[in-house]
Symmetry: C2
Subunit: 302 residues, 2 copies
């Protein structure tokens, strides 16, 4: 009982405030975070040259769908596939299962396959000549590896064929309020990605964070040059929620992406996330998700 | 119902055979594995010079307790602490929690603290001058990073103060029967560890494997020069079982260690694992485990 009340108290945050209250709170948290970073709010923490939105934006928003959905506009029916990272991250995935993932991604036109780093090389072979990007994960799923290791892991994955890196933040450092460490961790991987024409998505593992920490983590990802913030690993205690997506979109603004991942199993789940502000969806049930959309289109349109 | 029957059928393995049958099956699996490795059974797959048991054994078996328990003999009451890796691997662990872990490890005389790589440096500072080793995890918990990344991660952790590396095998490669890849993955990290006077424990994530795959993984770890095999990450679908520990001990023999980890919460759990052949225990409830032992000793002995 005590623990439940405690948990509920932890949950009391942005949701209990009105619009203006949320804005004020986000602004106040942002100011506090900036002051805690070395160099203060006007220090050297703008987006690095490599992450100039003008340079990155065409890359992350290839195609009108992604631009539209970055602004919270749902894409037309049937275009959903182009927003989905078709995901298979279970450690026991065999080569046959990875091959099936790649074949489905080609067939349905998913944005990418999202696989563990040890499968990047195989996917690069299998997806040669296709438009499907290779997305992989770094410091995954715990985020608790040192920055040098995350950078090395990202660079190696990019060498092997990945162009999208989903890294997990150092959650323990967020909890310890070591914001400069968190920012540097992200910025180092962002620099490595951008130097190799790849994009960086920063996974918050929102289910482990308070609302205040979610806001802080989004701000840190933004100043560190992330191209996307992402809700969840799919291995944590909770997945994507529309509330978290809306909050994250609100904090990062329209210029960087929001990826919803973790527990998205139906077309309706996916559309709810996009309506809340997601510009990318991570899912392993992607075929079912787009199959649902196509079936719906057929029955409605004919 | 179909799935349950399927699962049950999957479980039918070594447990349903008599003693001689188990021995024959292990021998047959071993032969098959050796033949699949490049170079065959008599190739260059003995333990590397760095993993010479004569050199490593005094290190992994520092103290009579560990020697005894390597042979399946339970240590005397109260000496349990020296067999325990006091573990805190949750990603949200704050610096304060890591500091408490180190302080408890000093107080109770645990073998090591087992932490995520990003906390190794802090533990090295906090445990200076103590006998508590620093154990960390590599390719954790999915095991699905390329070999180069695992080696880099291990080397960096050792530079920062770790002397024990718990790496996760490439589970997907086991499932795909790519045994030479699995062996090389382990051997590369073993070489890096031994070159720096550190030991390597190889995590099978037994809950993801069939009994046959557990035998294969143990054989591969042994020929690759591992100092321990370890049951589980604690993040998978199941933890340590006495059956798995007994099977693993049987396959690796008396000369290398077996670490039971995942879901070990009581003194009885720990003693059951040791009786089954475990020479090291990984637990986050370590204080409770040894507290229980001490309390029992008091009530029995006085």
């Amino acid at each position: 009982m005590g623990a439940a009340v405690e948990a509920q108290r932890e949950q009391i945050g942005l949701k209990d405030l009105d619009e203006a209250g949320v804005e004020r709170l986000i602004e106040s948290i942002t100011q506090q975070v900036m002051l805690r970073l070395d160099g203060g709010a006007n220090g050297n923490h703008g987006r690095s040259p490599g992450s100039d939105p003008d340079r990155v934006h065409p890359m992350i928003a290839a195609g009108a769908d992604r631009v539209a959905s970055t602004l919270g506009i749902a894409p037309p029916e049937g275009r959903l596939a182009g927003l989905i990272d078709h995901t298979l991250l279970k450690p026991e995935a065999s080569h046959d299962e990875i091959a099936q993932l790649c074949s489905e991604a080609r067939k349905y036109g998913f944005a990418s396959v999202c696989v563990n780093p040890s499968n990047v090389r195989l996917c690069a072979q299998l997806l040669k000549g296709s438009d499907v990007a290779i997305c992989t994960v770094v410091g995954f799923p715990l985020g608790a590896t040192p920055t040098d290791v995350k950078v090395f892991e990202a660079q190696q994955a990019i060498r092997e064929g990945a162009t999208e890196i989903d890294m997990v933040i150092n959650v323990g450092a967020v909890k310890s309020r070591e914001y400069e460490l968190v920012r540097q961790d992200i910025a180092s991987v962002a620099t490595a990605c951008h130097a190799a024409n790849s994009i960086l998505k920063v996974i918050l593992e929102a289910a482990l964070l308070t609302d205040e920490e979610k806001v802080i983590a989004c701000q840190l990802a933004k100043v560190a040059g992330a191209d996307f913030v992402k809700t969840s690993t799919g291995f944590g205690p909770g997945g994507a929620t529309a509330e978290d997506v809306a909050l994250m979109r609100r904090v990062v603004g329209p210029d960087i992406g929001v990826k919803a991942a973790g527990g998205i199993r139906t077309t309706e789940d996916a559309r709810r996330m996009i309506a809340a502000g997601a510009s990318r969806i991570g899912a392993s049930a992607s075929v079912k998700i787009v199959g649902g959309a196509e079936a719906k289109e057929r029955s409605y349109g004919r």
